[in-house]
Amino acid sequence: MNLLLATLLLPLIGFFVLLLTPRDSKAPFGVALLTTLVTFIASLGLIAPAAENGAQFRSAYDALWVDAPGLQIHFHVGVDGLSLWLVLLTTLLLPIAVWVSQTMITERHKSFYAFLLLFEFGIIGVFTALDLFVFYVFWEVALVPMYLMVGGWGGRRSGPAAVKFFVYTFLGSAFMLSAILYLRSQAGTFDYLEIMSRLNAGQFVLSPTQQLWIFLGFFAAFAVKVPIFPFHTWLPNAYTEAATPATFVLAAAMSKMGTYGLIRYCLTLTSAGAHRCASWVVVLAIIGIIYGALIALIQPNIKRLIAYSSVSHLGFVVLGIFSFSHQGADGAVYQMIAHGLSTGALFLLVGYLEQRRGSLEIGDFGGVATPAPGLATAFMIALLAAIGLPLLCNFIGEFLVLQGAALTRFSWAAWAAVGVILSAAYMFWMYQRTFLGKTNERTASFVDLSTRDWVPLLPLIVLMVWLGVYTQSFMPPITSATSHILDQTNMNNQYQVKLVLPAAGKLTELAHAH
């Protein structure tokens, strides 16, 4: 049995088993938790083969799915150093999401667990698909349960927020589908590896203009999903209105789909397009970093504040990707994982705060650290990780991104560093108003974290420290994957230049002749 296939299919099997369980019992929770835990254990087995050589796709599975004249679609999945940690991040986050849903979701548990499992199936597929059609399929399969989770549970205005989220991302992916179809009409296949080898062998060539349009098609989908400024307007509403477990997976896992797509497809398939657009994409990323931080500074709502901080942090990932440097790409991938851990932990803690206070307005809190020191400590650790304190996970990512950006153009790094400073400002200011100072009559009776509350937090905290202290456990596969991707980028880009230049040379000759 292929281990990747098992990781991928287990959530789906769990989903169907879950549908058979009675509605008003503990069974749905048990099935969901068991499924996600087994999936996590299965996914651990992916580490060894992928760590051996991060540049290659391991545990690959390839089967003919649709076989019609002129249309062969392969169900092709595999794991390399880039997707490895993202898959593991997902499989780690999902049992946590199930665990906290037990208390944070108040009604219709069964449906919520079912959607969580379906979502896990979709997102693991996104990270491992090696066929553009399969990628698109998983891309949308992950969207639907997420949409239902955001809209079905949570605040009063969660319905409109969910619709906005869906329509935005669906419109974006319409452009991606156009690009995929166009790419296929040129390349003759949907298979990513096949397209890459045909590109490298020069069996077909995409002109810079074609690459630009394909790049923009993909970029539309990814930019909305990340989200990159100015496509972020769905995010604050969706993050704030959704129930906390939904926000948790949305922020910690789903936002990585966009950045993953950027680095996996935009950089390799359409490198000339990516290079051509890099400067304005980076500008958007930097605007996102600073804008997200500035808006976060003035948010009166904790959840909304962290939502905007997410926009800011993901800007770093985009900056790293489009700096086209090894450090930048490594940092971007590392930051994806780190962001998943730290933001995930922050949203969990926000959920605990909401459970205890019934509100998330900063003004309703104050002095929480006195009655609930455990909660305050955990929040401080996650917060320090999020703002990039050395020895915690985000620092490595942000540092590498800034280094990579500085190597490409120093001013980029200088502007982005403003975001780091601002992030410390808004986070500490929020922490101060919420946890420090005098307690009010409502916060004085705060209950500290129980063992059940600590269980999902601990793995996240341990990993935050681990990623921050001992980078070597995680970095090698990432490095080999990103350097392979960057090689491809440069090779394709130079190849394009070579193809274009002789023509240009002829033109100059002609001009001279006249």
Partner: protein
């Protein structure tokens, strides 16, 4: 032209599905007359279901010995067989959905089933006809029966309005079509589709006049498939007619009309391709845009599905614009998928609407997810298929259509079409929001459980939609193989 009366037994075999449907239609009417007035009429529905099943078997048998019949009046090929099968499945599911519906409305009458069967006869003829005279006959048989079905609930004013509107505009369209046929006959001296092609290939006819004839026939077909600018009737009729009839009208007759639309334009008028392709291009884009944007504003679910059916006609027209073998196969696949998802959606609506269809606004669906989780989940599958979410037939059809369009270098039409389907998500999601994200209202609070037959119809549609989305290979292969007939 010498009249060639050389009819063999194969001719009858090739015409067997239509014959069986007619015979069963007549039997249903006669049995009803013989039944005592107080007895239940549901058995008539079951009888017509048997008739359809028999016709389906005959359809497969006819395909085994494919070829022309009755002096080239009809042509049994894979393409025709496919559409016959679609029409028969549509009829079967719609009758299943009607059994309980008519009981509830206390209008359980034999004519209903007989009319359904006769309407299907016309559509089967359309699917296989290879002569413009047969096209006209098929269209009329199908349409006249459907006009009556639209107004079947005689005491309902909306029903009457729908029937009248459908009848007046439909006859108007048929007149255009007939006028076009007359022109063609005057120009070429034949109404046979292959003969027309041959004559046009030789190029002895003035292209402008043939083009005008094609344009007249285009108007006629565009009416039938509710393409812009001839779409006005569709929302009114689908809203006014009984929900199972709307399900039928928006799928069966439409699929058959598209079948002959493609056959006439891709076989007979292919030599004039350069003249009409831009017309279809514009028509496809306008149909998608008008359908989707008008649907954004709707509050009545049936009307919303009416506009959505216009938009979906636009997607199929994109496949016609591609005018390639892949395009034809894509349209075939899409119409089959669309039939299943639309019937499913209308069937669920007919259930929630309750007596006299009092609850057909979007907000009446509120809280269905809590009251009837299974029905709600199935409706969600249909809606997601209409949006075009992967693993449903709707997605794969759309994907295949736009792939065909790109293969024919229709880049702008592809991009604009896919953007359209993105916008369409907004109004479909209103339904999902209502069923899953709102508290139950008056409509869902007192919802009786769905009847067994309706449940079967909904389940069968849902399974079909998922099957087409997850394992599209078999149907796609057949569609591709039979699309080769249209050259």
């Amino acid at each position: 032209m010498p009249i060639n009366i050389d009819v063999s037994s194969t001719d009858y075999l090739r015409f067997l599905p239509e014959t069986l449907l007619t015979v069963f239609g007549i039997i249903v009417m006669m049995v009803e007359a013989a039944l005592p007035a107080a007895s239940k009429r549901t058995s008539l529905g079951v009888l017509s279901l048997i008739g359809i099943a028999a016709a389906f078997a005959a359809n497969i048998a006819a395909n085994e010995s494919s070829g022309p019949a009755f002096s080239n009046m009809i042509m049994v090929d894979g393409y025709g067989t496919f559409f016959r099968a679609v029409v028969l499945v549509v009829g079967f599911l719609c009758i299943l959905a009607s059994l309980g519906y008519l009981e509830r409305e206390q209008s359980q009458k034999g004519e209903y089933y007989a009319l359904m069967l006769f309407s299907m006869v016309g559509q089967c003829i359309l699917a296989t006809s290879s002569d413009l005279i047969m096209v006209f006959i098929g269209l009329e048989i199908s349409s006249i029966a459907t006009y009556i079905l639209a107004g079947f609930l005689r005491d309902d004013r909306r029903n009457n309005e729908a029937a009248l509107k459908y009848f007046l505009l439909g006859s108007f369209a048929t007149a255009f079509l007939l006028y076009g046929i007359a022109w063609i006959y005057g120009l070429i001296g034949s109404t046979n589709l292959i003969e027309i092609r041959r004559a046009l290939d030789q190029g002895t006819q003035p292209g402008v006049l043939a083009g005008l004839a094609a344009a007249l026939m285009f108007v006629g077909f565009a009416f039938k498939v509710s393409a812009v600018p001839f779409q006005m009737w569709a929302p009114d009729v689908y809203q006014g007619a009984a929900a199972p009839v709307s399900a039928f009208m928006s799928t069966g007759p439409k699929a058959a009309a598209f079948a002959i639309f493609f056959r006439v334009f891709l076989v007979s008028f292919r030599p004039l391709n350069a003249r009409w392709i831009w017309l279809v291009w514009g028509c496809a884009l306008a149909t998608m845009i008008v359908g989707n944007f008008a649907a954004l504003l709707q509050t009545n679910v049936k009307r919303l599905l009416g506009y959505s059916s216009i938009a979906h006609a636009g997607y199929v027209l994109v496949a016609l614009t591609a005018s390639s073998q892949v395009g034809v196969a894509a349209a075939m696949f899409y119409l089959a998928a669309y039939a299943l998802m639309n019937i499913g959606a209308f069937a669920v609506i007919s259930h929630i609407a309750q007596r006299h269809e009092q609850y057909v606004r979007i907000e009446d669906l509120a809280g269905l997810g809590r009251r009837e989780p299974v029905t709600a989940a199935l409706l969600a599958i249909f809606v997601f298929s209409l949006i075009g979410i992967p693993l449903t037939g709707g997605f794969f059809g759309k994907f295949y259509i736009f792939q065909a369009a790109l293969n024919s270098h229709l880049i702008w039409l592809t991009v604009l079409g896919l953007m359209n389907s993105g916008i369409a998500a907004y109004y479909y999601l209103k339904i999902i929001v209502a069923i899953y994200m709102q508290e139950p209202g008056t409509a869902t609070a007192q919802l009786p459980p769905p009847s067994m037959s309706l449940r079967i119809a909904i389940w069968a549609s849902a399974i079909g939609v998922l099957f087409l989305g997850i394992f599209p290979g078999a149907v796609l292969n057949f569609a591709n193989f039979s699309a080769a007939a249209l050259r």
